[in-house]
C-alpha cells in the first residue's frame, strides 16, 4: 500500500526550520536541569522569557480536537466510568540492593487523569516499566481490569490496553509518521504472512481500517500534512505528538504519558494540557508523569507523589499542594532555619 498510494508530499520546508531536534532537545534539558538544581516546582510562569530561535507560537502544531479518535473495541471487559481500571498493589522492585519501588500502592479510575509526580529518581518511570511489563515486580503486583497482569509479555500487555510513551522519544525514526502510527494500530491486527502474500480479504480489511484510524489520529494531532515525513525529520514537538498518536493507535484503556512536556515552551505546554484533556474526553484514561507542576496541577484529577520509591502522598491537586510531606520532598526541610 505505501508504495502505490503515495500522496504528493507537501513541501514542508518552512515549518521544519527553526526548532529542529538538536537545538530543541539541547534547550529544554538545560531548562530541566535548572529546575532540578533548584529542586523547586516550576511554578514560575516564564511567558516572557528566553524566546530561543523563533517565535515559539509559530512552532505549535494546532490539534483538531473534533476528530473522533475514540478507542476501538479491543475485546477487553468494559469498565464503568469512575470504577477502578488498574491497581498497583504493594509493588516492590529491587535491583540488587537498590530498592527502586517500595510497597507502592495506588489505583487509577476509569476516565480520570492521574498525575504521578516526584523528584528525580523517585521511581516514576520505573513504576511505568512495571505496569507495562518491562520489569517484573519483586513482590506485589498489578491488577488490571480486576485481574492480575502476572508475567505477561510487553506486547501482550499492550494488547490488553495499556499503552505508553517514552521519556526520551523513541519513535521508529526511519519510518514515516503514518507508518509509525500504523504499527500501533497493527497491535490488534493479525494479518500474517499468508494473508499478506495472497492479499486475502483480512489483509485488505485490516489495512483499510488501520489506514483510516491512523489518518484520524494524525489529523487529530494536526500531523496529517506530515504523514509521509520520516519521523526523525519532524520537529521536536511533532515527534512528541506523534509518539502520543502512536500510543493512542493501540486503542488503550490506559494511556501512560512519560514526561510529555519535556522540552516544551510555555505555549506548547498549554497546548499539551488542552490535548491531554481532549484525549480524556474522547474516552481514554490517562496516567501522566510530569515534572512541570503547573501542568500537573492544571490538568490532573488526582495526584500520586513518589519519593525514593515510596508513595508519600495521594490526593487532589489542591491537597497535594498543601501537603507538608510533598513540600518537604520538593523543597527540602531545613531544621535550623525554621522561619
Amino acid at each position: 500500500m505505501p508504495e502505490s498510494t503515495e500522496p504528493n508530499r507537501p513541501d514542508t520546508s518552512a515549518e521544519s526550520t527553526a526548532q529542529t531536534t538538536p537545538e530543541a532537545t539541547a534547550e529544554p534539558t538545560a531548562a530541566a536541569a535548572a529546575d532540578d538544581a533548584t529542586t523547586r516546582p516550576a511554578v514560575t510562569p516564564t511567558t516572557d522569557a528566553t524566546a530561543p530561535l523563533a517565535d515559539p507560537a509559530d512552532e505549535v502544531t494546532e490539534i483538531n480536537p473534533d476528530v473522533d479518535i475514540t478507542p476501538d473495541d479491543i475485546g477487553v471487559p468494559e469498565v464503568a466510568e469512575g470504577e477502578r481500571l488498574l491497581e498497583v498493589d504493594d509493588v516492590t522492585l529491587r535491583f540488587g540492593g537498590v530498592v527502586a519501588l517500595n510497597e507502592v500502592s495506588f489505583h487509577i479510575n476509569k476516565g480520570e487523569i492521574l498525575g504521578l509526580i516526584g523528584p528525580n529518581g523517585a521511581g516514576k518511570t520505573t513504576c511505568f516499566n512495571v505496569m507495562t511489563g518491562v520489569y517484573q515486580p519483586t513482590s506485589g503486583g498489578i491488577r488490571y481490569l480486576g485481574k492480575p497482569l502476572g508475567k505477561r509479555k510487553k506486547f501482550q500487555i499492550t494488547k490488553l490496553g495499556i499503552a505508553r510513551t517514552f521519556q526520551n522519544i523513541r519513535l521508529f525514526a526511519n519510518m514515516t509518521a503514518l507508518e509509525n502510527v500504523l504499527v500501533g494500530v497493527d497491535a490488534h491486527h493479525s494479518t500474517g504472512i499468508g494473508a499478506a502474500m495472497f492479499r486475502l480479504p483480512k489483509h485488505r480489511r485490516e489495512e483499510a481500517q488501520g489506514y483510516a484510524r491512523a489518518m484520524e489520529l494524525l489529523t487529530f494531532m494536526g500531523l496529517d500534512g506530515k504523514a509521509d515525513e520520516l519521523a526523525r525529520n519532524l520537529p521536536y514537538g511533532d515527534q512528541r505528538r506523534l509518539e502520543i498518536a502512536r500510543a493512542l493507535a493501540t486503542s488503550p484503556q490506559l494511556l501512560c504519558l512519560d514526561e510529555p512536556a519535556a522540552g516544551f515552551n510555555p505555549a506548547e505546554k498549554a497546548k499539551l494540557m488542552e490535548l491531554i484533556r481532549t484525549i480524556r474526553d474522547q474516552g481514554y484514561t490517562v496516567l501522566l508523569i510530569e515534572h512541570d507542576m503547573k501542568l500537573v496541577m492544571g490538568v490532573t484529577d488526582r495526584i500520586v507523589v513518589l519519593e525514593f520509591g515510596r508513595k508519600i502522598a495521594e490526593g487532589s491537586p489542591a491537597e497535594i499542594r498543601d501537603n507538608p510531606a510533598v513540600i518537604a520532598a520538593y523543597l527540602g526541610v531545613d531544621e535550623e532555619d525554621a522561619s
Binding site: P2, T132, K154, F155, F172, T191, A196
Partner: protein, 382 residues
C-alpha cells in the same frame, strides 16, 4: 534498461527521480516497458552483446551464478535489511539447501527434482527456525557472531560427515525434468553487426550439461516469484513489524509487536530463500562439496546486500549483480580480484555509505536533511 527508455523522458524532466518518471508514464506504456524488459532479460544470454558478455567463461553460466546471488541477496535482505538482524552465516542455509537436494536426489535416494526442491526449502526454513529460536534472544554484534559460528559449523559438519560425502562431496545430482517447447536462436556479432544465428540455439527448458541458459531461465522465474512475494509481504503488517523491530526493538514490543515472533519469521523466510538458491546451485552444478560453501561466500552475500543498499530490494539486486558479475567479466585481472574488490568497497564506503541504491527512507531523509541544512545556513547568516 534505462539507456533506451530513460533518455527520452530525462531531457524533459531531469529533476524527477527515475521512479517518479516511470510512474508518470501512461499505464499501457509501463506494461509495455516491463514486457520489453522481461524479454530482454530472458534473451540476455543469447544476445551476446559485446563488452557485456563474458569472454572467458560461458555467459549463460555466469548469468546463472549472478541469478543465484540475486536470489540470495533478496533472501538476506529480508533478514538484514528489513528486520535488521546481521546474519554472517547465511551460507549455511545455502549449503543446507544444496545438500538436501544432493542427498535426496543422488546420494541416498533418487527422488525427483520437483519433489526435492520444496523439501530443500522446508529443511532450510526449519534450520533457520532451529538456529533462530535460541539465538534471536541476543542482539546486534552477538547475533552476528553466533550466526558466523553457524555457517562454519555447517561447513565443518559437511567436511567431517561420511554420510554427507565428507570432503569429496556429492556428485551426479540429476537434472530437473525438462520440456522441449521451442528453440531460441542466438545473435552472432562476429561480422561486426548483429546477425541471427540459427545454428547456435538454446532449447526452452531442456536442462542439459553443456547449455546453462535454461538454468538461467529457471532462476529468473524463481527470482520473479520471490520478488513478488517480497513486495506483497513487505507492504503489509509483517513488513512494518520488521521495520519497527529494526528501528527500536523495545519500543516495538511496547507498541504490541511480538518482536521475537517476527524476527524468527524473517530468519525462517530468509533461510528458505537461501536454501532455494542453494538448491538451484546444486541442480546446475551437478556436483557439490564443502569447498563450495566457504565463509568467504557469506561475506560476499553480505557484501551484495550492503553494496546495493540494505532494505531496498532493487538495491540489493544491483549489489548482487555487482558482486557476482564483475569478477567474472574481468577475469583477466583475476589475480587482482580481491584487491580491486576491496578497493571498490572502500570507495563505496566513502562515497555511498548507504549502498548504491539506498532505501527510499534514506534518500528521503537525506533530501530533508539537506533542505534543513540550507535553511539553517540562511538563518545563521541572516
Amino acid at each position: 534498461m534505462s539507456t533506451s527508455t530513460g533518455t527520452a523522458a530525462s531531457t524533459k524532466q531531469r529533476r524527477l527521480g527515475f521512479k517518479e518518471r516511470v510512474n508518470n508514464l501512461p499505464r499501457a506504456v509501463k506494461i509495455l516497458l516491463w514486457v520489453v524488459f522481461a524479454v530482454f532479460l530472458f534473451m540476455l544470454p543469447l544476445l551476446n552483446i559485446p563488452f557485456i558478455t563474458t569472454e572467458g567463461s560461458d555467459f549463460g553460466g555466469v548469468l546463472f551464478t549472478v541469478a543465484t546471488y540475486v536470489l540470495v541477496a533478496l533472501g538476506l535482505n529480508i533478514v538484514v535489511g528489513y528486520a535488521g538482524l546481521l546474519d554472517l552465516g547465511y551460507v549455511g542455509f545455502y549449503a543446507i539447501g544444496a545438500y538436501t537436494v544432493g542427498v535426496l536426489s543422488a546420494e541416498h535416494a533418487k527422488l525427483s527434482w520437483v519433489v526435492v526442491v520444496p523439501i530443500a526449502i522446508v529443511v532450510a526454513m526449519v534450520s533457520g527456525v532451529v538456529l533462530g529460536a535460541p539465538t534471536l534472544r541476543v542482539r546486534g554484534d552477538y547475533l552476528a557472531i553466533v550466526t558466523l559460528g553457524f555457517g562454519e559449523i555447517v561447513r565443518l559438519t559437511l567436511v567431517n560427515s561420511e554420510w554427507l560425502g565428507a570432503s569429496r562431496g556429492i556428485s551426479d545430482i540429476p537434472k530437473p525434468p525438462g520440456v522441449e517447447l521451442f528453440e531460441v536462436p542466438s545473435i552472432d556479432w562476429s561480422s561486426g553487426a548483429p546477425v541471427v544465428d540459427l545454428d547456435t540455439t538454446s532449447t526452452f527448458l531442456k536442462f542439459g550439461i553443456t547449455d546453462f541458459v535454461p538454468y538461467y531461465w529457471l532462476a529468473l522465474g524463481v527470482i520473479a516469484l520471490v520478488l513478488l512475494f517480497d513486495i506483497l509481504v513487505k507492504s503489509s503488517r509483517v513488513g512494518r513489524a520488521w521495520e519497527a523491530t529494526r528501528e527500536d526493538e523495545d519500543a516495538a514490543e511496547l507498541m504490541g509487536v511480538p518482536t521475537f515472533r517476527f524476527k524468527l519469521l524473517a530468519f525462517a523466510l530468509g533461510a528458505a530463500i537461501g536454501g532455494l538458491s542453494g538448491a538451484l546451485f546444486a541442480t546446475k552444478a551437478g556436483f557439490i562439496n564443502p569447498q563450495s560453501f566457504e565463509l568467504l561466500l557469506s561475506i560476499l552475500f553480505i557484501a551484495a546486500v550492503v553494496v546495493g543498499g540494505a532494505g531496498n530490494r532493487w538495491g540489493v539486486i544491483v549489489g548482487a549483480i555487482v558482486v557476482a558479475y564483475f569478477p567474472e567479466r574481468f577475469r583477466e585481472f583475476a589475480d587482482f580480484r580481491v584487491l580491486v574488490f576491496g578497493l571498490a568497497l572502500m570507495l563505496l564506503a566513502i562515497f555511498r555509505p548507504q549502498g548504491l541504491l539506498p532505501p527510499r527512507r534514506t534518500v528521503r531523509a537525506k533530501r530533508a536533511d539537506a533542505r534543513q541544512a540550507v535553511l539553517e545556513e540562511g538563518e545563521a547568516s541572516a
